[in-house]
Symmetry: C2
Subunit: 312 residues, 2 copies
């Protein structure tokens, strides 16, 4: 199975605590790294994760609250000191470019690489990144400012070649791609070997969704159907539901309701309010609705597997 992992760098919320870092995650798809959000302290957490800085090409920013983006300038500056040359792409609400450019100009003079901003449209689900193996689409959320989650979806893969049949029919290497793409094999003496005998089905594509920050939005369930791993913010306990509503955040039970209704493989909750010394009650509240829930924590790495996840 190709690598598809989610590394939690930080899962706290707006107020700093000594228990949690500000929000950031790195999605590792076949050793290409995609960062989601970049709160203060992210670059140190990235260092701690031992993920390779140079493999990070794209950063997705959900919204412009400080706990989701104050770490950008430090990360950009450090990449400059490390003499990065590859472009760094930031997918973000459009105001971010205006806010960051003067800082980059002042603090990162003569930098060895370019930061390229890609503003995405708020309020409408759209594919904002695509490569050979992956698409990333926005998930419009509802928070105190325009906010989007992100859905990382593998593209359908090609079937696996059966090595035993290749040997049996002595099929030359030059046929491999044609067979992977569905052709039957025709032997030198004109016999046709059906494709289904030569291949086993492709790994089903996997998907990871990130939804933070947001109030409870049942309308996102449709977009989340079939997702293998869902990160959904669970800032509050249900006992603080009034506060959740007022600040446009979700409770653990609401996160779990989204997970259950979308039939996702596994739920990971985070973005914990600083008021809770212990997250266990949040976990228990979520598991009562959706048992297959885990707590995010710093330095946790979750493997995205079809229908669920393994911790690695």
């Amino acid at each position: 199975m190709e690598k598809f992992e989610v590394n939690i760098l930080g899962c706290g919320s707006a107020l700093p605590t000594t228990r949690h870092q500000a929000t950031s995650q790195v999605v590792n798809v076949r050793d290409k790294l995609f960062m989601i959000d970049c709160g203060e302290g992210t670059q140190v957490q990235l260092r701690r994760s031992r993920l390779k800085f140079s493999r990070l090409g794209h950063i997705f920013i959900s919204h412009l609250h400080g706990d989701h983006c104050f770490g950008l300038i430090g990360l950009i500056s450090t990449f400059g000191m490390l003499e990065r040359t590859a472009d760094l792409h930031i997918h973000c609400p459009e105001e971010l470019e205006r806010l960051l450019l003067p800082q980059i100009a002042f603090f990162c003079k003569g930098m060895s690489y370019q930061v390229v901003f890609h503003p995405y449209p708020p309020g409408v689900a759209s594919v904002i990144y695509e490569d050979r193996s992956l698409t990333v689409e926005t998930i419009p959320l509802r928070h105190r400012m325009p906010t989007c989650g992100f859905l990382f979806r593998e593209k359908p893969a090609l079937p696996h070649i059966r090595r035993d049949m290749m040997d049996f029919y002595q099929i030359p290497i030059c046929w491999l791609n044609r067979i992977k793409n569905g052709e039957d094999y025709v032997t030198d003496d004109g016999r046709t070997i059906e494709n289904r005998l030569l291949t086993t089905p492709a790994d089903p594509p996997r998907a990871y969704a990130y939804c933070s920050d947001t109030s409870y939005q049942p309308r996102i369930v449709e977009q989340l159907k079939g997702v293998d791993l869902l990160f959904h913010e669970a800032t509050f306990l249900s006992t603080d539901q009034a506060r959740a509503k007022q600040t446009q955040h979700s409770t653990a039970a609401q996160a779990a309701t989204i997970a259950r209704d979308a039939g996702v493989g596994q739920l990971v909750i985070g973005h914990y309010s600083a008021r809770y010394e212990d997250e266990l009650p949040l976990l228990e509240e979520a598991q009562a609705v959706f048992p297959h829930t885990v707590l995010a924590q710093e330095n946790l790495c979750l493997e995205v597997t079809r229908g669920g996840v393994k911790e690695s």
Copy 2:
């Protein structure tokens, strides 16, 4: 003795490591807190220190490299969320206001308090803060951009009243201030009791100096004479002296030479290059020149005492 402490929040240098935080310190003078520099992650370190956020009124920024100021916006934003009302004063190079104001306007809308910028003149030693018990003056340094250190100097205190003599002569409370200010006491029957019999000498004023970032600058020695505690950057070992010169930083031996020549009470070195896994060689190099040297480390609190320091 009145409280005069230096709390090291971070003593790393530009490149992030998992061993050290970016530069920040808090000087605690009689429970008024003064921050020096504010690298990324400072607000979490401040939380960790258990110093009271509300006691911090003034921040002094030595220069505008990111590892000395990227934590400001997060700290300012958090103070807003905590509904601070007191003004926050930032003493800094003048460009900082232009860089921070657009961010404060966007990220901290409707904030409950004011950030007041006090640009200080570069290149000339000047008193930039003063209250009843303290002055802060700049120490012009030499780095790749205009940079100043800071010298925290207690004002001369009043002598101590001798309680035994107050009782012996039955001196009324209303005389205390006059005696503290040097007057002799005159009894009801006209006898004069000399002031020197009624008092013991005041505690000698103490001083703390912070010098970072800077190349080796013997000209600062004069200003540092009589300082009780000196923080001087020691980014490099002498074996990397060429690199120190090129980047306008100091070696541990150079820091110690400044301390020795100024006859300070104690030296604390920091701002360690990320290249060193272990700071012991830096300490040994400094101690060979100036034995009374300690290594800065996160969460270290140094008490400033006349002629030296105690760790507390």
